[in-house]
């Protein structure tokens, strides 16, 4: 009987079965950042424990980084204290660090792959729920909390329960102006925000096979928004071509040997899945969220749902709560919804191809006069690559701000945030109440190209009419 990638990676990394029945799982690669780790290092100090495998941890700084003025000390004392704590911890334990002063800094889920640290067949953990991003390479990657960060630092292991696997097959081909972001929003709308609890999502099918790595990362990134802690794509030539030549990828014959091991970790034909879902990719249109969780989205051709027309009282109650918060009218078309802010960025959609697609829409146009628009590249490397192509100029000429790398307006931990009830067209991953920094701020999730289109139009519009 064949095995899934998850089963193979799990078996290969199982140290032993713990007395309570959980697996002691070895973690091949541990990413850390400034927000979820200072308490973990303090706990180690209190217990007199060191870091077991410092060479298997890699640090960066992203959440609290200002995207306008990155001079130290930061204007925000709390941000400066977090930055200093991370610097002290990595120095004390000999952990590699993509510091702000280096050209490797960026959002953890952008730099890991682009540096070639993320490999297929590896277990990856990080104190961040969007660690699922790395599954795009066929890694088993998931988010953990601070006490688990402590455990990984102390032992390079976690106590964890195995997961079931749901295979999600996306057949057909995506139309022009339809992206991985639209696919994952469609998946979450269908399966629900808790549909993936207890599962890893394996993404497969013609659409996924055709996707570049950036797109696979976008899709895996938002697995957690569907409740699945892990999402992955089986490694193939697209994966290997991406990794080839990256700073931390193997070279020469070593790369060839790595490739055959990576290939061997892919799910076997005839592997057993706990569940399977098939979606017609050709039928997916650009999507936009209208509510307060990432499952509440419609296609740009559709209208905001009407709770009075819903069969389930649960759906009706959740819809009513969302519409009340958003101040939207049931039955109104989502297209034409006025926006105040446009944000291209976040670990979901801040890679070079995202910025290229947004620039393609923006070129030769101006940002609508009432819209504040910003592009925040996911890493210094993305920023430099985009600047080499002149994309920064395209955005600046259109009236966008071109910022330094960081998490920026995806969450409210740095100076970039919504004010009052502003409506933001955002390429990020969460439209939760208050997520973008104003307790009453409103987020509409969509692809970077759709954000660019909304910025120019001043309101949500089908990007396909502008391409």
């Amino acid at each position: 009987m064949g095995q899934t990638l998850l089963e193979k990676v799990w078996d290969r990394h199982t140290v032993r079965r713990l007395p309570n029945g959980q697996t002691q799982l070895f973690i091949g690669l541990h990413f850390i950042h400034e927000v979820t780790t200072p308490q973990a290092f303090d706990m180690l100090r209190q217990r007199g424990i060191g870091v077991a495998f410092p060479e298997r941890t890699y640090a960066t700084v992203d959440h609290i980084v200002p995207t306008v003025d990155q001079q130290r000390p930061f204007a925000d004392d709390l941000a400066e204290a977090m930055m200093s704590a991370l610097e002290r911890n990595v120095r004390e334990h000999g952990i590699r660090f993509a510091d702000l002063a280096t050209d490797r800094q960026g959002i953890v889920h952008v730099i890991g792959p682009e540096l070639g640290l993320t490999h297929p067949g590896v277990t990856i953990a990080c104190g961040d729920s969007h660690t699922s991003t790395h599954g795009a390479f066929g890694a088993v990657a998931f988010g953990i909390g601070t006490s688990q960060v402590r455990d990984v630092l102390a032992s390079q292991c976690l106590a964890i329960d195995p997961l079931k696997v749901r295979r999600i097959v996306i057949d057909g081909a995506l139309g022009e102006g339809v992206y991985a972001k639209d696919v994952i929003l469609e998946i979450i709308a269908r399966l629900g925000v808790k549909g993936g609890v207890g599962y890893a999502y394996e993404y497969a099918g013609a659409v996924v096979e055709q996707m570049a790595m950036d797109e696979r990362m976008t899709m895996c990134n938002m697995s957690i928004e569907g409740g699945a802690r892990i999402g992955y794509v089986n490694p193939d030539d697209t994966t290997f071509d991406y990794l080839s030549g990256r700073p931390f990828a193997p070279e020469g014959e070593s790369f060839e040997r790595a490739k055959s091991w990576w290939r061997s970790m892919a799910s076997d034909d005839g592997a057993n899945y706990d569940d399977e879902v098939v979606i017609d990719g050709s039928a997916i249109a650009p999507r936009v969220t209208w509510g307060i969780n990432p499952g509440q989205s419609v296609s740009v051709e559709e209208s905001i749902p009407d709770p009075t027309k819903m069969m389930s009282s649960k759906d009706a109650a959740e819809t009513s709560e969302a519409l009340e918060f958003m101040g939207f009218t049931a039955g109104a078309p989502i297209s034409g919804t006025k926006i105040d802010v446009a944000f291209v960025g976040s670990c979901t959609n801040s890679r070079l191809s995202d910025i290229r697609e947004a620039a393609r829409v923006v070129r030769g146009h101006k940002v609508s006069s009432h819209v504040k628009a910003l592009v925040v590249p996911g890493s210094k490397s993305v920023s430099q690559a985009a600047e080499t192509e002149g994309l920064d100029v395209v955005f600046k000429e259109a009236g966008f701000e071109w910022r330094g790398a960081g998490c920026s307006m995806c969450l409210a931990m740095n100076p970039d945030r919504l004010i009052g009830q502003e409506v933001c067209a955002s390429s990020s991953n969460r439209n939760f109440k208050g997520r973008q920094g104003s307790p009453t701020g409103r987020t509409l999730l969509m692809s970077p190209a759709m954000v660019a289109a909304a910025a120019i139009n001043g309101a949500v519009v089908d990007v396909r009419t502008l391409l």
């Binding site: 070895f26 959440h63 961040d128 006490s147 688990q148 390079q156 925000v193 808790k194 409210a412």
Partner: protein, 198 residues
């Protein structure tokens, strides 16, 4: 090492937080994560929800001193911030009973010694109704017997076997266990292609 503390039951009054998909950004807004400790998080629990909802249970003095949180579906969805269960615990919550919990929240809560049990939607509704009517109602979460009890009711709850075992034996803090047979960890690591070199 941390103290090993076996827990077979949690007793106390309860606080009902109605609503599905209450995410960690609502439990503890991200601006309060700007700290290098978990101290003081309890003061900011549900800060923005409390501002926008004058009748929020965590603003209601009738529930002061409650130690069991009652929740609906998918409580704790969203980010992996341990700050969410830390804030609950620091406010005084010792256990959660809900229809369902997000996986990362559940893992984090367990790791810091905050047991989470699930119960049917009908049973949660009955418990919430009872507590809203009489906030002084005392509940017992029986981790050993997998029950939630009041003077009038006894209802089944579910706690995954591994988590139940962790609380009953007091070994919810895994660090010690993971370091227990460290030779095995070194051996496994040394055999991995990406550790030894492809």
């Amino acid at each position: 090492m941390s103290e090993i503390k076996a827990t077979s039951r949690i007793d106390g009054t309860a606080i009902p937080v109605r609503g599905n998909n209450i995410d960690t950004d609502r439990i503890i807004p991200a601006r309060f994560l700007k700290s290098i400790t978990f101290e003081g998080l309890g003061d900011h629990l549900f800060e923005d929800d409390r501002q926008s909802m004058p009748n929020h249970p965590f603003s209601n003095p009738s529930y002061a001193g409650a130690s069991i949180l009652l929740a609906n579906e998918n409580f704790g969805s969203g980010s992996s911030r341990e700050h969410a269960p830390q804030a609950l615990k620091r406010w005084g919550i010792d256990a959660c009973i809900g229809e369902s919990f997000s996986e990362i929240f559940l893992g984090n809560a367990t790791t810091i010694g905050l047991p989470c049990a699930t119960a049917s939607a009908a049973d949660i509704k009955m418990l919430m109704d009872a507590v809203e009517q009489t906030p002084a109602t005392r509940l017992s979460l029986r981790i050993d017997a997998l029950l939630v009890e009041t003077a009038q009711l006894s209802q089944p709850v579910v706690i995954p076997a591994a988590i139940q075992e962790s609380f009953l034996t007091g070994q919810w803090d895994a660090t010690g266990l993971l370091l227990d047979q460290f030779d095995q960890v070194r051996q496994l690591a040394a055999a991995l292609p990406y550790v030894k070199g492809y």
